[in-house]
Symmetry: C2
Subunit: 343 residues, 2 copies
Amino acid sequence: MNSSRPVTIKDIARRFRCSPSTVSRALNDHPAINEDTRKNIQEYAKEVGYQRNEVSLSLLNKKTASLGVVVPTISNYYETAVIEGLHTVLQPMGYTLNICVTNESYLLEKESLSKLLSNRTEGIFLSVSQETYDAGYYEHLESVIQRKTPLIFIDREYEDFETSRATVDDYHGAFAAVEHLISIGYRQIAHLKGPNGLTVSEQRFKGYINCLKKYNLPIREDLILNTNFNVESAILPTKRLLELASPPDAIFGVNDQVAIGAMRVAKDKGLRIPQDIGLVGFDNSPISAYTFPSLTTVHRPGRKIGMEASRLFLNQLNGSGDFAPESIVLPSELVIRESSLRI
Amino acid sequence: MNSSRPVTIKDIARRFRCSPSTVSRALNDHPAINEDTRKNIQEYAKEVGYQRNEVSLSLLNKKTASLGVVVPTISNYYETAVIEGLHTVLQPMGYTLNICVTNESYLLEKESLSKLLSNRTEGIFLSVSQETYDAGYYEHLESVIQRKTPLIFIDREYEDFETSRATVDDYHGAFAAVEHLISIGYRQIAHLKGPNGLTVSEQRFKGYINCLKKYNLPIREDLILNTNFNVESAILPTKRLLELASPPDAIFGVNDQVAIGAMRVAKDKGLRIPQDIGLVGFDNSPISAYTFPSLTTVHRPGRKIGMEASRLFLNQLNGSGDFAPESIVLPSELVIRESSLRI
DNA sequence: ATATTGAATGCAAACGTTTGAAAAAATTTC
DNA sequence: GAAATTTTTTCAAACGTTTGCATTCAATAT
């Protein structure tokens, strides 16, 4: 008596005293079907709200039209921008995105991947978790590779995998940011670094270090402190920086959140930005243009990364057997605003 | 020669010269299987990386363990918080979330729902698009209801549907925000409203209006301007407000983004916050605590909404036939910070 | 030696759809 | 009116897995 059972092709066939194949063909406008039969069946199908069961089709065709997106978090602007980019390209093509959040945990990442494979996902976009990255685990990726499921790395990557990847040129972005500070005249430039071990953190850190070296500025260990990418995590480190006997005259934050945290602390201390202290962030998040003063930052094209990653996936999917992995590195771009423009 | 075809139970059966049923039972630790057979099969399965095809199981059991999440956007803090909440509860239970972004478009929403139904999603969380809401369309929801697929409304809702819903008490949050401004002594309170027609906008607007009424303050049409929820959309309206012959002494923004935009414009004008102008936002986004001055706002429990919505879904799923829809309204909470604390 | 038990395995159907090939029905041709 | 042709429909298999029931085989009991 449960009216909620979805109506199937068989139901319709019974109703018309014909075979399921006829119904199937009628619904798919197959030319070998009598015009009247077709119309009747289509009308009836619409009337009873028939919707074909894609699950059975997936089984038959071994195509699921679903893709996995495995990311450490979705609560940052950048990550959602990437997902939007993926969406923009892939939703119109009929793909469904299965979003898995790993919270930076290896176990969750492993489980997510296994689940996606079990569900016969046709491709996987992966930004590995910090735990995975730290520990250098990679066994859980073997099965993905072995299955030849296209695997696209986003931002965080393993060098030694034969896979496509889309990353932002963090190194040169960071370099440009620090170079800009130097060009303005700042000399004691601190860095609020991201968590150790993550490519993103390390690349930006390297950009910072190498730029200082290039301009023969001393590298002061006491001006390099760790944060956790969010605003709060920048508060204490910034306080410590500003209480130093020889405090920095500029701070390069690993991202906008961190820079905004630093901005807040500096202002609380009565410092003027950019006169007393210069500030640069990273990401070009929407808010960065509207802080007071507005934040100099490095644009990180999240949407574009998502779209490029989609392209890489499609290339691999449609490519011939001897597929060659591609690496896309999108340039990051310095966006100069008020927080560093000391005159 | 393509080694990428996933190994199936049949493959294993062939290898052991036994029937697929035996393999299936062996893999599932069925007691009627000989200990040795079981061990051998399990070992071999592991060795060749067998992973059971969940698609076929879905077809067999009519259970897909996947849920749809249909939202207008994922680029705001609040939306991602909701999704995180859903995730927190549902991922551990084995559910997969299919995220569909509608970009506020009715057509995309309709297509997304139809796709989800075709994929035999077991439940749908829906925050209707603005277009849908404006036009009052609802036919596309009929098939969801008819299929008895649990449908949970999030925030934006249709009054006349017999479905569960989880919303935040925007009205009282807005009311409290305005009341707070009044209590501090602000009298000419402007409102940067959200897009017309959306429940969220209208409820907050209503809270604003009714609070003014309660305290016998005049309602000035010229102090009510529309925005589009993002920072940029607040810039021009705020400029207009501040250029009025009789400008407001406080602004209540429909969300934090808008309030931050307003903050920026006010500061550019040389106004001191909160001395010259008070500011209140809505959402309690992470950044709001670290603007300068920090932003008074109304906490909107996104994560909790997601978790509550999950609960509503599970209730409906496990409920008996005569299911009664539930409405959860979570309180919003005024968070007083510097931007409104004129002494 | 035969019946009885028990353990281990196989058979077949089911989930909903598509599709090549075969069959049936209708139409045309001579 | 039969043969040839065309149109329309049905059959059966396939996708990968599970599961109730039947079957097989060996061991035990009588």
